[in-house]
């Protein structure tokens, strides 16, 4: 399992990376943690002639609180997110998802920017970032632009990034105090990808859903929001009956794949069950 040969360019800054990508065009690929790209290169599903390694760019690895947001440098690893006190406290959904990606070795190398750019519909972060209405800072030859999550994941393994653009920061709105979040991932073996997963974040006050966000993994060609469930819960009472009825709508508007792990019907069933469990977990004791 040896990749096709390529030229390796280690850059120190984002502008250098952009310049290399512009110079080599379609022949080049950015390398971050390498935990999606290297396996693809070994299978020769990806055969770039130039690999531009941003792994040594300083200042792209951070988690900080900014005005109303939590900001993540694109090179922040899954491990750093899993173990961050700030993330555990403010965005438990993300900490929960990070802890379930692959295995500890994968989490030590893989980055949030790489996982977002890879745009795998069964990836765990894309769903979370869509659910949390994240925004993406992107730098290209014409300078910086900001892409909203709802515009970022455009297709299977396709993001809104242009081939000469570098994702530098991902910002997630800081939720109101007392918000809870969880990521329920269903897979048959440890270390596996989600057959279906549900991302949920809820702010419950006076036994009512003030804010509710639900996202679905592996239920279509891109990560999806369970909008019908959100609409059925927003402003409504956080009781068992309301939750059960709303969760039944989880598969509305989805187009789940058929593969070795399950049929579309099986996935629709899983989506409703996991949505109900997530909501029960988020409202327990409230």
């Amino acid at each position: 399992m040896i990749p096709a040969s390529f030229d390796y360019i280690a850059v120190k800054t984002v502008p250098e990376a952009v310049a290399e990508l512009a110079k080599h065009g379609d022949e080049s690929k950015l390398l971050a943690g390498g935990h999606s790209l290297i396996p693809l290169m070994k299978l020769r599903l990806s055969t770039p002639s130039f690999v531009v390694d941003i792994g040594r760019v300083k200042d792209l690895n951070y988690i900080r609180r900014t005005d109303g947001h939590i900001a993540f440098g694109a090179l922040t690893t899954h491990h750093d997110i899993e173990f961050s006190d700030l993330v555990k406290e403010q965005l438990p959904l993300l900490a929960s998802a990070a802890s379930q990606i692959g295995d500890p070795q994968v989490r030590n190398r893989g980055t949030m920017g790489g996982a977002a750019a890879h745009a795998d519909p069964s990836g765990d972060y894309p769903t979370c970032l869509l659910t949390l209405d994240a925004e993406f800072d992107v730098v290209g030859p014409n300078g910086r632009r900001v892409i909203k999550a709802s515009d970022f994941f455009v297709g299977t393994f396709t993001s809104a990034l242009q081939p000469d653009e570098v994702l530098t920061e991902i910002r997630v709105p800081a939720p109101p105090a007392g918000t809870r979040g969880t990521y329920l991932k269903f897979s048959r073996r440890s270390q596996d990808w989600a057959i279906v997963a549900v991302a949920a974040q809820a702010t419950v006050k006076d036994r009512k859903f003030q804010e509710i966000r639900i996202g679905l993994t592996s239920m279509g060609g891109t990560p999806l929001r369970a909008s019908a469930v959100e609409a059925a819960l927003r402003g409504k009472s956080a009781d068992a009956d309301t939750i059960r009825k709303a969760a039944e709508k989880a598969a509305e508007g989805t187009d789940p794949p058929q593969d070795l792990n399950g049929s579309p019907d099986y996935r629709r069933h899983l989506a409703t069950v996991l949505t109900r469990r997530a909501l029960e977990q988020l409202t327990a004791g409230r």
Partner: protein
């Protein structure tokens, strides 16, 4: 185009020319000549190739050697001090944590990371800590026992180190 890479493996400096596509595990085994690190699947699944890179366990079949330029690497060969086995190595021996031994180097490197992050893991935490490592022989039972035993030994050793200065004063 070949690249010159230099890295420290188990305290020794190595420097070689490599093709960029050379995977770290092949560099360690074939160029540095340290064959304790195994290649099981070559597809990022089995963990047999696990080494420590700048303090983090990694699957060295999923890292290019050029990415490790300048890094500090520890492999299974770097754990024993002279003939004194590392507590994890001793515990795998004592608890029969291996049969064919193919997974063992990677399993021990993964367990080392686990115990550094969580010196007193529960059985469940141990199983999750080695979720990136596959063993085709043991059924994991004795691997988990070995890691529990090593955790106790290491805690006792750490306790002694902490207590020693107090005893002097």
């Amino acid at each position: 185009m070949r690249h010159r890479v230099a890295m420290t493996i188990n305290g020794t400096q190595y420097e070689h020319e490599v093709e960029p596509r050379t995977l770290l595990v092949y560099y360690i085994r074939e160029q540095a000549g340290l064959t304790g690190t195994h290649i099981g699947c070559d597809t990022s699944s089995c963990g047999a190739c696990t080494v420590e890179m700048d303090g983090h366990s990694v699957k060295s079949c999923t890292v290019f050697a050029v990415q490790a330029d300048g890094a500090q690497i520890t492999t299974i060969e770097g754990l024993a001090v002279g003939s004194q086995l590392h507590p994890l190595q001793q515990a795998f021996w004592d608890e029969h944590g291996l049969q064919c031994g193919y997974c063992t180097p990677g399993m021990i490197m993964a367990a080392k990371q686990l115990l550094e992050r969580n010196p007193k893991p529960t059985e469940q935490e141990i199983r999750l800590g080695i979720e990136g490592n596959l063993c085709r022989c043991t059924g994991y039972q004795n691997i988990v026992k070995a890691i529990e035993t090593a955790a106790r030994t290491m805690a006792a050793q750490a306790g002694k180190e902490v207590k020693a200065p107090a005893a002097v004063s």
